[in-house]
Amino acid sequence: MSIQIEVNGKKLEAFEGETILTALKRNGIRVPTLCHMNDFIPSGACRLCVVEIVGNPRLVSSCSFPVSDGMKILTNSPRVIESRKTIIELLLSNHPDDCLYCIRNNNCELQSLAKEYHVIERRIHGNKNSFKLDHSSTSIVRDPEKCILCGRCVRVCEETIGVSAIEYINRGSKTLIGTTMQKGLNTSSCVNCGQCIMVCPTGALTEKNQTHMVQDALQQKDKTLVVQYAPSISVSIAEEFGMAPGTDINGLLNAALRKMGFKYVFDTTFGADLTIMEEASELIQRITEGKTLPMFTSCCPAWVKYIEEFAPDFIDNLSTCKSPQQMTGAVIKSYFAEQSNLKPEDIISVSIMPCTAKKFEMQRETMGRNGVKDVDIAITTRELIELIHLHGIDMKTIQPEITDSPMGVRSSAGKIFGATGGVMEAALRTAYKKITGEELVDFKINAVRGFEGRKEAKIKINDDLEVGVAVISGLGNVRALLDEIRNGKNDVHFIEVMTCPGGCVAGGGQRIGVDRSFIEARTKSLYDIDDRETIKVSHKNPEIIELYDNYFGHPLSHKSHELLHTCYMERDVLL
């Protein structure tokens, strides 16, 4: 029901039951927040969002306080400003004075708040925190000294991802965010998705930055430098260079990577096409030969680790296909190496991923042969952006270039891997053709598109076969589905799971500080590419056809098992 409130002397419309913050936001009035997260129940931990209600002796947290009819609110009274400023000063009082040496310099919520509230002298002197840095993880570095205890990471890890690797430990001035027994993140249940990094307002959580390794590699003149980038990358960085969010800058990216010094530039989307060829065949084999169903996608390494830790009873359900990153890497170090007369050990293979978990995936034991890894260095979108700036590349003046053969052509089915539901859609297009011998009339499978946490559909293949599919976006949504399957749910054959809500376009390695509209723009861009381009199915990618003709023979062949498939193992971690 609509009610009237008065904000800073002006009458505004609000709705019964909503919080003051929601009403203010809708009316374009900004209030600073730290612990608040959209779509989460307010925790009221930081109190930065305080406002004054006329007649109410105490300031209230606008993120949790409901509006009421006739309420008179002051959002910027001297009392409010002073109170917020004190909170900021208290947060700074035990914070390391490290901004210039911090990866979040210029993109830090604490820093911006200090500036906004004109904190220019130290009025409150506190003891600096002294906590150990946690370097143990392959993907994420935690620096509890920079933590302001907002709790956003804890909540994402628990509520969105369903993992709960981290929690508030101790109390009072000794409070910190940590793992069970305060062990390293590497022995915790952390799945490396990096969503905690995406919500952290400060530099307390960062990716394991490996730009220096790329820099070193680029100097090794006796090696051949090869790079691949994931399907979502080309639509996820435009805004950094002053272009509209979501703009596909595939060509510019190729040019920039060559300028940096990479000799060969491949698009991981080719690997996605290859994944589809193998995975669709595996699905059909599982259905026709009565093997373990439902089959789960295996391209999200965070999800794979989740199964290995939390649900080892489902390990056989995971597709044995390597992810596109690893397939591309494996082809680089085999087929490509042979074709280019290179020894696999003389190639340095770098991948650019929207994802911190890919840093974990590339070092898994089975991701290479004879001591040669499929991928040598995996960096995130953020690290790529750092490198582009470091190399002084002006994205506005360079000219687009194309990717290299033999992995230079891609289908748009592979491209949509970057969005939730994309792997499913791409796989169904190819599976349909493989079973019926005909192409789908309409390639768009709308039932698996969109941001809902769980989508389900029945896809009629022919008179005898209807395939049940489910798509999970946001790992926390999978637990219930797994329980249903344990309890006998048997109407699904194929399940796609993406740990990050929205899929890789919203991955834990992407730019920090973007809102939902950016994620939507990136997703739209991927589907626009799919609408625009002519090769809409992986099995029609001419270079994929060539690769099978020249090298693998057919999907699930002996050679593809050797190079493109993998296995999983139960993991003993602190759950």
């Binding site: 709960s164 027994m181 249940s189 759950l575």
Partner: protein, 154 residues
């Protein structure tokens, strides 16, 4: 002492998460501390992530996560002791043993626990080592007390 973690957990078969604290207390009474194993098993039992259990347990001073040392030093931080300087005693003790309250020395000899009033306010500041009380402890005398235990071990 004596009851295994399993047998304690069994008693809580039909209990919900609300019984977490009393369950942890009972384990600590039996084992002397909360081991990683105990936390993992409790988590499985009550279906709570271990990080949450550890978080809750570290919130309360009563829980420790290392076995106690051969000599377990309890330092009273009750009001009477506080007024007469138990904080300096504690700080000195931590310095001498190079551990913090709640921890155990590497050689397993000493551990420190901070307790609220021991009911021996007449002796303040008071400490207790394996059942023996030491009265009117000062920053100086605590060193000697520890030294005497070290001598015993030589």
């Amino acid at each position: 002492m004596g009851k295994s973690i399993e047998s304690i957990l069994k008693k809580y078969d039909n209990c919900s998460r609300d019984s977490l604290i009393s369950l942890l207390q009972e384990i600590q009474e039996n084992e002397g501390f909360l081991s990683e194993e105990a936390i993992v098993k409790t988590g499985k039992k009550l279906k709570i992530p271990t990080s949450k259990i550890y978080g809750v347990a570290t919130f309360y001073n009563q829980f420790r996560f290392e076995p106690t040392g051969k000599y377990h030093v309890m330092v009273c931080r009750g009001t009477a002791c506080h007024v007469l300087g138990s904080l300096t005693v504690l700080q000195e003790l931590e310095k001498v043993l190079k551990i913090k309250a709640g921890q155990t020395t590497r050689d397993g000899l000493f551990s420190i626990e901070v307790v609220a009033c021991m009911g021996a306010c007449g002796l303040a500041p008071v400490i207790n080592i394996n059942g023996s009380f030491y009265a009117n402890v000062t920053a100086e005398s605590i060193k000697e007390i520890i030294e005497s235990y070290r001598k015993k071990e030589e």
